[in-house]
């Protein structure tokens, strides 16, 4: 059994829901924030942190029971885990395998980290647009003010 398989089995298989593998080690708590999981939901959530990974060195794994992630939610995950692999599980089997494929722009995922950017004027009817300048490493730039975004601060600005 490979190290990755051992890692996956640290928690039991789920019947229905979503399994997210290859989250960079230590970032799974931010993934919870991205998916608005704050402990008040009733569905079971399993976390695995800092296990060995051939791809990433260390990785985290998140299993969310009874919830299938949408493509929009996947786009948000790109902020911290652009290499993540996502499996949709139905009746204990992998029904779909999804990978994050960043487009040239992230629209309405997060708002610019600069408070003096026009996009933070709450009454303006605008889409929040972040250009993807690079995926490795992830570099995002506000479409409006042209400034590069601090990703840690940006996670606090998720929409």
């Amino acid at each position: 059994m490979s190290a990755d398989e051992q890692s996956m089995r640290r928690v039991t298989a789920i019947r229905n829901g979503t399994v997210i593998d290859h989250i960079p080690g230590g970032l799974v708590l931010q993934a919870l924030q991205i998916f608005n999981i704050d402990g008040r939901q009733s569905n079971p959530i399993s976390l695995v942190m800092n296990v060995p990974s051939r791809k990433l060195g260390t990785k985290d794994i998140l299993k969310i029971e009874d919830r299938e992630l949408t493509q929009d939610e996947l786009d948000r995950l790109a902020l911290i885990a652009p290499m993540a692999s996502v499996s949709i599980i139905r009746n204990y089997s992998v029904a779909e395998k999804l990978t994050i494929q960043l487009s040239d722009e992230m629209i309405n995922v997060a708002h610019c980290v600069y408070s003096n950017c026009i996009s933070n004027s709450v009454r303006e009817p605008l889409p929040h647009r972040l250009k993807v300048l690079s995926t490795k490493p992830l570099i995002l730039q506000c479409h409006y003010c042209g400034r590069n975004q601090n990703l840690e601060r940006l996670i606090g600005n998720l929409l």
Binding site: C112, Y114, I118, E124, L126, C145, G146, R147, N148
Partner: protein, 313 residues
């Protein structure tokens, strides 16, 4: 066409072509020739922040070419105080005009306006962001003095952190191979992000707090005002206000063709005794705002400038 939001909207060839057009339009800008290239066209002037030179020179440029201007006027007497969004203001003025000049306190406002409007937007300053029409008139002034804009030693002085003028200008100068010496107090240094981008573009930069030693080798000394209105904390402003003052005696050993520029208004960073030296270029620079904006307005409205301009007024 084509909005002008940042200098990235213009290629180096565009810049050279527009500067050449501006040169041709000089007699029109001075009122010596009548050339109504923009007759029937209307400029919407939307200035959400105070402006003297930029607003007036846009207006003069339009009128010298036979066009007309509608003004937002004071923000306090417009629908903005009733809570109108920038989106709605732009959509309205879009219907009243053929081109819009926009100054706004928030960065990114010009790009947003360009997204909302059908007519071209000229960014006349967005917060501490960009001011490309100022950059074009600065380049025109430099070209007038040196016959070129390439490979010069340019010293930028003062508020390099909040000064949108120097942000746009520094990007343009690096594109033309100029060496930049950045003179400012540490708290007003050019933002790291801009420094990094300039370096990535091959820019040769020197960073210092000391102005006087930089004067001797300079081709251009570009002074700026420390902008009180951009400081969140007045104590911080007081600590750096008045730190650079250029006086005529400082210019005794500079190059003969070195020019002192300033986007104006000045406070005390250039002593009035510099005005009468051969190096003072800032009032000519202010005039150049008219001729450069004439060329830019024609370009944005796709109105070609005739090869030969003639005909007495």
């Amino acid at each position: 066409m084509n909005s002008l939001i940042t200098m990235n909207d213009l290629t180096n060839d565009d810049i050279h072509r527009i500067l050449a057009d501006a040169e041709k339009l000089l007699p029109v800008a001075k009122g010596n020739l009548h050339l109504p290239l923009l007759q029937g066209k209307i400029l919407g002037n939307l200035f959400f922040e105070p402006s003297t030179r930029t607003r007036m020179s846009f207006e003069t440029a339009m009128k010298r070419l036979g066009g007309d201007v509608v003004n937002l006027g004071a923000v306090a007497s417009s629908s903005v105080v009733k809570g109108e969004t920038l989106h709605d203001t732009i959509r309205m003025v879009d219907g009243y005009s053929d081109v819009i000049a926009l100054r706004h306190p928030l960065q990114g406002a010009a790009q947003y306006a360009s997204d909302c409007a059908n007519v071209p937007i000229a960014n006349a300053g967005d917060g501490a962001g960009h001011h490309p029409t100022q950059t074009m008139l600065d380049l025109f002034t430099i070209k007038q003095a040196h016959g070129k804009i390439e490979n010069l030693n340019v010293v930028l002085v003062g508020d390099l952190r909040f000064g949108r003028t120097v942000h746009s200008l520094s990007y343009a100068l690096v594109r033309f191979g100029c060496k930049l010496t950045l003179v400012s107090p540490e708290s007003l240094r050019l933002p790291d992000e801009i420094i990094n981008e300039l370096k990535e573009q091959g820019g040769e930069l020197e960073i210092t707090e000391d102005l006087k030693p930089q004067l001797e080798n300079a081709d251009v000394v570009y002074m700026t005002r420390i902008q009180k209105e951009r400081f969140p904390d007045e104590d911080e402003y007081v600590r750096v206000a008045g730190v650079y003052k250029l006086v005529a005696d400082d210019l005794s050993s500079v190059k003969k063709d070195m020019i002192v520029m300033h986007p104006l208004p000045r406070v005390d960073e250039i002593n009035p005794d510099v005005d009468s030296t051969r190096h003072a270029a800032y009032f000519e620079q202010a005039f150049n705002g008219v001729v450069t904006r004439m060329a830019l307005l024609c370009d944005m409205l796709n109105i070609p400038i005739p090869e030969k301009i003639g005909g007495e007024k």
